[in-house]
Amino acid sequence: MLQCFQFNNKHRSAQMRKIIFAILGILLACQQGIQGPQFDSTGTEGVVVRINPASTQDFLMCQESNMLLDLNNIGLADVPQGIFTVITEDQIISTTKKQGSFALDGRSPVNPEGGATQLSFRLKSKTLPPQLETYQTPFIFHACYPYNTYASIPVCIDPDVNNRQDKSCISTPVSGKGGQGAPVAVTLVEPKITIEDNTVIPTFIISIANVGRGRVVAPELLGGCGAGTEKSTIRAFVQLQDETLKCAPEAIDLRAGETKITCRSNKNFGTNQGTFTTPLSIHLEYGYTTTSFLPLTITRLPQQKQC
């Protein structure tokens, strides 16, 4: 009996070990399983709009059709409230909603693909002008939203203008190639050293450009969905080591293309201080518009006079 008991104990232990090994194996596999999407902090787009393939582009006179739009925020900034406007030829096409809003999160490590939503529009065609068999008319989706660009550019502060000490870095222009996950990007940062009273004042010339496919608008005029402005369209906040730099011009207008601003530190660095690298944080606030165009074709049936 003792032998039977001892045999049973041994058998159970072996089974337990197998079960434990199996559980460990499963846990290990889960840890090292299928890789999720990698998070990329570059990019030159904000909210993109795609026409869903299920949308109807060709339809009959007096009939209804569906238009489906997929919105995806592939930039890094969140859009808490965007506005959209649908532009159609009202004498030919009527739609259930002409204006609305949307909210989309930006890409992040926990959401590498960014927020997405689908907008649906019910379209109905009216009577075509007489003696026309077909008619082309556009469906234009116009989205306006506030956006931000966050750029952290490592810059070299070199107060040692007399080259007395060993330098840990060399002060050179830094490119922002590839974008910062937004349609407005910092394309170049050029450090400059200004000497005043035997002290060094760091100054930076920052180049900013619209690298997306839309249009930059003033954030305060987003209510009108970019009805045009003569004022500045971008607000910039630049920080160096917890200090907010003073930038000029304060009004950044990108309508003429790439624009440069000069930001100056209030801190003085002695020429005896060593060279060091520190991040220059650039935060841009602006409004942005994205437009999508889809041509619709309306066909009249034989003997069809009017709706």
């Binding site: 009202d90 007489p130 026309l132 068999e133 970019g226 045009g228 003429a256 006079k305």
Partner: protein
């Protein structure tokens, strides 16, 4: 004879002379006599030669004169044969050939007036050179196109002006004009080609074609004067384009061309004897807009017309199966028109068939309205605002429906800028043009213009003539009736542009908070249009 006496002899006769002086004298005398004899002989032969050259009946050999007369007779016969074969009637062939033969005989038999006769023949040949050349060309074994004979005739007159001066040129021009007028003119005298030439002979056909050619030249002068040519319309169009008043458009695509057509038009016989009916036939085809149940009301008529473009009075023919039709989508009927050739009279003319029908042409243009600030914004970025929104140039073109009338429309440069709280007033330009070269407008019955919501029409060409306007579903529609249109479209063959002044009610109402508004202006015109086809016919006299 005693010894020591010397004797002298001269010549061959052996005569002796006592002294040398006597011998020399005798020699001189002998030489002089020989010279005299030679001179007399020369004079005698010259006289004989001179008398032999004189054409005197007593001098010309009888054999030569007979040969010449025989030659003239042969020429007379040959001339008669050629003229007769060419188609000249016997009486004229004999008369012309005989007349020339008589003149030639006169030259031979009466040498004194010969010079005058030659000169006379020369003058006749020169002044009637055009006609003679025409006759000569007609005698060729192949038919010379009437165009070339016309050039030949004009060329001889031009040469006369150049070579012999204004007097000779004018004489030649007047003589040829008179001769051709007698031969080919509208009055049928004994000298008219229909009387002088045999029917269907080469001369008859050449004269017929020449008459038609002259008539076409005359007809084209009339057509230019009436302004019914494509050239006239083209000139008007170019003027409008140059002054910036021409509004363009594209024709809407349709599966079939719209309108009424006379196809396969012909006559059963192009040359008929007077009294025989002329049967003009055609295929009447109508194509309405198949996507509606509309029909086209068509009226037909047929008649004769001279080459100068005048309708022949009383020549209206009978149309079978009927003269009025109501056709719909792609319907086609064979139609015959029987004309009375006696009403046409002998000679060439045109058989004409006309179709008159009601038709409607529509047109529209999309206006793109945008806040001015947005337009400027794009401009600063060197971008085209409509292109950025996906709107291409084709979307900005006016579209008109198929048919005889072409309607172009324009709103100026687009997008049309809108200022908030500021009135805006785009002007609509409309160009009307005849789209079919084979037809013409009879009358305009109605013109309807529709403005989009938010815009009102206030006048045309600066005049407040839009009285009949109403608003339906926010769209203002103004209608002009026949009486108002008579003044606007005086010249029915035209290229005409009108400008419609508008007034915007409210920018906010138009845009409704959007950066772009798309609004269409629409137009339709009801009118009566006429197409015709002409076929050349020739009525021959009874033989």
């Amino acid at each position: 004879m005693g010894a020591g006496a010397v004797k002298y002899s001269v010549g061959l006769d052996g005569k002796l002379f006592d002294t040398s002086e006597e011998a020399e004298e005798a020699l001189k005398k002998q030489q002089a006599e020989e010279l005299a004899r030679e001179g007399a002989a020369i004079a005698a032969s010259a006289e004989a030669a001179a008398s032999a050259a004189k054409p005197t009946a007593t001098n010309t050999p009888f054999k030569n004169r007979r040969a010449l007369l025989l030659l003239i007779m042969l020429a007379l016969l040959a001339g008669y044969y050629l003229l007769n074969k060419a188609g000249l009637k016997n009486i004229w062939s004999v008369g012309i050939a005989g007349g020339i033969a008589v003149l030639l005989v006169l030259i031979i038999l009466a040498p004194s007036p010969a010079k005058f006769v030659w000169r006379l023949l020369g003058i006749i040949a020169i002044t009637a050179g055009g006609l003679l050349g025409f006759f000569a060309l007609a005698l060729l074994p192949f038919q010379v196109p009437a165009f070339f004979t016309t050039i030949f005739i004009l060329g001889t007159i031009a040469i006369a002006f150049a070579e012999w001066g204004k007097g000779a040129g004018i004489t030649l021009l007047l003589v040829n004009a008179l001769l051709f007028f007698i031969l080919l003119g509208p009055w049928h005298s004994k000298l008219h080609y229909t009387e002088a030439f045999r029917i269907d002979s080469p001369l008859y056909l050449a004269a017929e074609k020449q008459q038609a050619e002259f008539a076409k030249i005359w007809e084209s002068r009339v057509k230019v004067k009436q302004g019914a040519t494509g050239v006239q319309q083209d000139i008007k169009r170019r003027i409008l384009v140059a002054t910036g008043e021409y509004e363009d458009g594209v024709e809407a695509a349709t599966s079939e061309p719209l309108g009424v057509f006379l196809e396969k038009t012909a006559v059963t016989r192009e040359r008929v004897t007077i009294g025989t009916p002329i049967d003009l036939f055609t295929e009447l085809t109508a194509q309405t807009f198949g996507f509606s149940d509309e029909t086209l009301k068509i009226k037909l008529q047929c008649y004769g017309k001279t080459f100068s473009g005048n309708k022949i009075e009383g020549s209206n023919g009978d149309i079978t199966p009927q003269a009025e039709f109501e056709l719909a989508d792609l319907e086609s009927y064979p139609v015959d028109c029987v004309l009375n050739s006696e009403k046409f009279g002998v000679g060439p003319a045109k058989a004409v068939i006309e179709a008159e029908f009601d038709f409607t042409t529509s047109s529209f243009i999309k206006g793109h309205f945008m806040p001015q600030e947005i337009i400027r914004d794009y401009a600063r970025q060197k971008k085209q605002p409509l292109t950025e929104l996906g709107i291409s140039g084709r979307d900005l073109e006016a579209v008109y429906t198929a048919g005889p009338l072409r309607i172009g429309m324009g709103l100026g440069r687009q997008p049309i800028p809108i200022l908030p709280n500021t009135p805006f007033a785009p002007t609509l330009g409309i160009t009307f043009e005849n789209n079919w070269v084979q037809g013409k407008f009879v009358e305009f019955k109605k013109l309807t213009i529709t403005a989009p919501p938010g815009i009102e029409m206030i006048g045309i060409d600066g005049q407040k003539i839009l009285k009949n306007c109403k608003t339906i579903q926010k769209e203002q529609t103004c209608t002009m009736e026949e009486k108002d249109l008579e003044e606007m479209f005086k010249d029915k063959i035209f290229t005409r542009t009108i400008r419609v002044q508008t007034q915007g009610r409210s920018a906010e109402e138009l845009l409704q908070g959007a950066p772009l508004a798309i609004r269409s202006f629409k137009l339709s015109v009801d009118y009566v249009y006429q197409i015709s086809k002409e076929i050349d016919v020739t009525v021959l006299p009874i033989q």
